[in-house]
Each structure stands twice: as C-alpha cells, then as structure tokens.
C-alpha cells in the first residue's frame, strides 16, 4: 500500500491550500471496528479541482466531513493554509450526499439560509438567491417547500445553497447523482465556469467517471477495506475537455480499471458479466 505522493501536478494554483496529512478514521459498527480511512495523504492547491472516485463505503463522504471540520476525532491532521481545521467555516461549503434541505423553509429561504452570516444587505442577498435559483433552473419553485420537490429538484436547491456563498472551498458529495443527463451536463459546465471564475478550490466525490475526468485536475481513486487512496491520476492538459477525445476515453478507462472495472469503456460491463 504505497502512499502516493500527494503533490498537485496540474493545479492552477501552487500553494497547498488544503492538506490532508496521514489521516485515519475508525468507526465502531455493530461491535466491529470499521477502518473508514487509513493513512490518507492529499494536498490540494489553491484553485485546484480534485475528483474522488471509489467504491461504495470506501470513506469518501467521511473524508469530506473531516475536511469540513464536522468531526475532529481522527488521527492525522487536516490543514487549511497550514492551520489545523477545528470546525466548519464559511470558507468551506458542501453539497451533502442527501440534500439536507430544511423542510420548514421554502426553496428560497433554504438558499438564503446560507447567507445569514454573510453580512450582506438584504437586497444583495435576494439578488444572489434569485441568481442561483436561476442557475439551477428553479426560479419558478422559489416558494415551494422541499416536500413538494422531486428528488433532482431538491438536489439542485442544495447545489444552489452551496454555491450562493461563493466559498473558497467547495466540497461536493455526488451533487449530480439524481439528475438527468441533460441537466447534469449543463450543471457540470456551470460548475466548471463558476469554479474557474471565482478561483474556487473544489473537491468532488462522484461515481460518474466521465464527470470525474471532465471536471477534475486530478482524480483520486480510493479503495475500500480499509478506505485509502489507491492512486492519484493527473488530468494533463492533453486530455482536454472533449469527452469523445481518445485521450479522455483513455484516462476514463484507466480510472475504471483502477476501480476494478477492467477492459475499455463499453466492454467493461460485458467483462463483469462474464466474470460474475
């Protein structure tokens, strides 16, 4: 289990905005110890976009929680600008795996909630909220309550809430999981645009390897039992952002094979089927 050297190879910034240094985390589940994370090293540069892929239960969400500062009971250290993370802060924003909208607030108010500590004027907030609802295509549903939304709509509100504060770090836990292909593509591009414009540092957990390659500067592949980083693959500029580009497909297949889905692209499934 080699600890992959964790330097950003194609970060837009060079300083280590976020450092995850030898982090391990254990849980007790039904009387057994579960090693959710084992010796995780990762340094993320300012403005870099890191994609994380890995099988179900390999500790991706746990890692994001630690970076957020929601849980400080782990071994190792997580630093932002060299300072140990002690608690959540407005500089780090997250889209949780479940939407976590407050059921008693309508869509608008849920997004606005993120701006409570922003110190902005009411009018400015209102404008920001409207802009972001427009971004996710839900202006029409500003007054609807979460119980009246479809799964994908709720997820989009959560995305708007995470973006509205224009955070320095954006942590995304399968933000587009419940979205249809078209909306997903559109929001991927919007995300990329925002991240580039604002210089946001982003960590994206996703199961969609295309998405990981398309958006990431580097791709972290995690393995389970114990949850650990298996490889970190850089997305060189050569790969470009064209999904039909052979380089793109090559890298995607490489990631898939690291995840255990062997053979190239569309053969993978057949392969799995045969071996099952």
């Amino acid at each position: 289990m080699s600890d992959p050297v964790a330097t950003p190879e194609r970060g837009r910034g060079q300083s280590h905005a976020l450092e995850i240094a030898d982090v391990s985390k254990r849980f007790r589940v039904a009387g057994r110890q579960v090693q959710a994370l084992s010796h995780v090293h990762l340094a993320v540069g300012e403005g870099e976009f890191v994609s994380i892929v890995g099988s179900s239960g390999c500790g991706k969400s746990t890692l994001l929680r630690l970076v957020l500062g929601l849980d400080t009971d782990y071994d190792g250290e997580i630093r932002v600008d060299g300072q140990r993370v002690e608690r959540p802060g407005l500089d780090r924003s997250i889209v949780f795996q479940e939407h976590r909208l407050l059921p008693w607030l309508n869509v608008e108010a849920n997004v606005a909630a993120a701006l409570r500590q922003s110190g902005l004027a009411a009018a400015e907030r209102g404008q920001l909220v409207r802009d972001h609802l427009h971004l996710v295509g839900l202006e029409q549903f500003a007054k609807a309550y979460p119980a009246q939304l479809s799964g994908g709509m709720a997820q989009r509100v959560a995305i708007a809430r995470a973006l509205v504060t224009k955070p320095r770090f954006l942590l995304l836990d399968e933000p587009f999981g419940a979205l249809d292909a078209l909306t997903r593509l559109r929001l991927q591009d919007e995300l990329q645009r925002i991240v580039r414009n604002e210089g946001t540092t982003a960590v994206l957990v996703t199961h969609d390897v295309d998405e990981a390659v398309y958006l990431g500067d580097r791709i972290v592949v995690m393995h389970p039992h114990p949850g650990r980083i298996a490889t970190i693959l850089p997305v060189t500029d050569a790969v470009s952002r064209d999904r039909s580009d052979p380089n793109f497909i090559g890298l995607r297949d490489e990631v898939l094979s690291r995840l255990g889905v062997s053979r190239t692209g569309n053969d993978a499934a057949a392969e799995v089927r045969r071996s099952a």
């Binding site: 929601l70 849980d71 009971d73 119980a147």
Partner: protein, 274 residues
C-alpha cells in the same frame, strides 16, 4: 435569553466530543449532585444563622433525625412502600391504556375524529372533579385510588403517543403501506419506535402525574397507609420536619424513577446514538 447565552449551544458546536480525561468524567458524574447539595447547604445555613424562623425552616439534622426515627419505629418505610405500590400499579394501567389508545388514534383518522375532541375536553377537566364519580363507582378503597392514579397517568401517555405518532414522517407511513403492514406491524415496527422519544416524554409526565395523584388519592379518598397521610400529618400538626422529610422522599423517589426511566430510554433509543 441570557440563560441561553451563558450556557451556549455547545452541543451544537461540539457534537462529537473528544474522550474526556478521567478526572473530568468523574466531575461529570458529580454534576447532578452539585445543585441539590448547594441548596441543602443554603437551607442549613439559613436554619442556623437564625435568618429563618426555626418553625418554618427546621435545620437539616432535625429532618434527618426525624427520618431516622420515622423509618425505625414510625413505619415510614412501610408507608413509602404502600404508596409506591399503588403508584406503580396505577401508572402501569394508565400508561398502557394511554399508549394503546394513543396508537389507535394516531393510526386511524376515523378514530382520531371520533375520540379526539372528547379526549381533549376530558383532559381539560380537572382530575379532582372525578373524585366523586370515582368514589361512587369504584369505592374509596384501593381500587378507587388505583383508578384515580391510572387516570392521571393516562392523559400524558395518551397525548404524547398521539402526537408522536402523528409526527411520524409521511415517508415511513407510506413504507408501511407499501409493505402492507396491518395495525400491529404498523404499531410495532413504525409507530412505537418512531414515536418512542415522545412516548418517553409522555411516560415521564405520567410518572410525575401518577405520583402526584397517589398523594392526591391518599388525601381525597379513603384513608390507607401511604406517604400522603404522613404529609397530611406534617401539615396538620405543623411538623415542618416531617413535611420536609416527606417532600424530600417524594423528590428522591422521583429521582430514582428518572434514573430508571432514563436507563430504559437510553437502551431503547440506541439507534439514535450510533
């Protein structure tokens, strides 16, 4: 609001506590005692400093001495047991009935519509008003007392179960529909566990009300051994030491109830503390 700012919302900011060092955890266990001990100390001080009238505030040692005497020869232990017995019987009957009916109402909209208003009106009517009827229907003896206590425990158990069940998220109700649960499965798998925190609040209240009603029953219905009578004696003869002793006993029993209920609750609500 000052209270809130003083104690802060720590739980919200340190939800995952780092294991406390051992000496701190000992301190933690002593916390519940801090305030009562302080109060007792103030009491003792008041009694001895002559600030308070000794007739109203007898010194602690007088109460303790009285306690020793009463438990020895006065049969206070016997009185206490008698009260406890009828309290627990009444509590058990009342809370089981309350929870059952609460589940039924929470389960069926029709039953809720039928019985809800009646039960709410019934709740508003003072327990005391039932005394004549109870003493006529069940007699003033042990049966009447138990009915009275059960009635006291019934209401909070009912209301809280009812509210708890109606607060169960719709998604879980739908799940029950999808799995074609009957009323028993619904109650056992969904309603009771889902409403458990509120049911426990109800049982907490029920314990308190039942205990109050125990003393009330001993005062309002036919005489029988019990703490109520002793309390009455203290009031009647103006023996403040006995009265305070009884109050301490009543409170002490409350603490014991609370500890037991808390342990049971903790065990049953394991799933919430992963």
């Amino acid at each position: 609001m000052s209270l809130i700012t003083i104690m802060g919302l720590e739980r919200l900011s340190h939800s995952v506590p780092i294991a406390p060092p051992p000496f701190r955890s000992i301190g933690r266990h002593l916390r519940p005692l801090a305030l009562p001990i302080t109060l007792l100390a103030i009491w003792e001080l008041l009694a001895h400093a002559g600030v308070a009238d000794a007739r109203f505030v007898p010194p602690l040692e007088a109460v303790v001495a009285r306690g020793i005497a009463e438990f020895g020869a006065g049969g206070l232990g016997f009185n206490l047991l008698a009260s406890l017995e009828r309290d627990l019987i009444g509590f058990a009957c009342g809370s089981v009935a309350g929870i059952t009916l609460g589940l039924a109402i929470g389960f069926s909209r029709i039953i809720e519509r039928l019985l809800g208003p009646v039960l709410l009106v019934h709740r508003q009517i003072a327990l005391f008003a039932w005394v004549p009827l109870i003493s006529m229907w069940f007699g003033g003896g042990e049966a009447g007392k138990v009915v009275f206590i059960a009635l006291a425990a019934f209401q909070p158990a009912l209301i809280n179960t009812w509210q708890g069940v109606s607060g169960i998220p719709r998604s879980y109700r739908e799940l029950a529909d999808v799995l074609t649960f009957g009323w028993f499965d619904f109650a056992w798998i969904i309603a009771i566990p889902g409403a458990l925190p509120q049911i426990f609040t109800g049982l907490h209240s029920a314990l308190i009300y039942a205990w109050t009603a125990t003393v009330g029953a001993e005062l309002l219905l036919n005489i029988a051994p019990g703490l109520g009578g002793r309390m009455n004696e203290g009031q009647h003869l103006f023996h403040m030491d006995l009265l305070l002793l009884c109050i301490l006993l009543l409170g002490g029993v409350g603490v014991v109830f609370n500890v037991v209920a808390g342990a049971v609750e903790h065990r049953l609500l394991r799933w919430r503390i992963p």
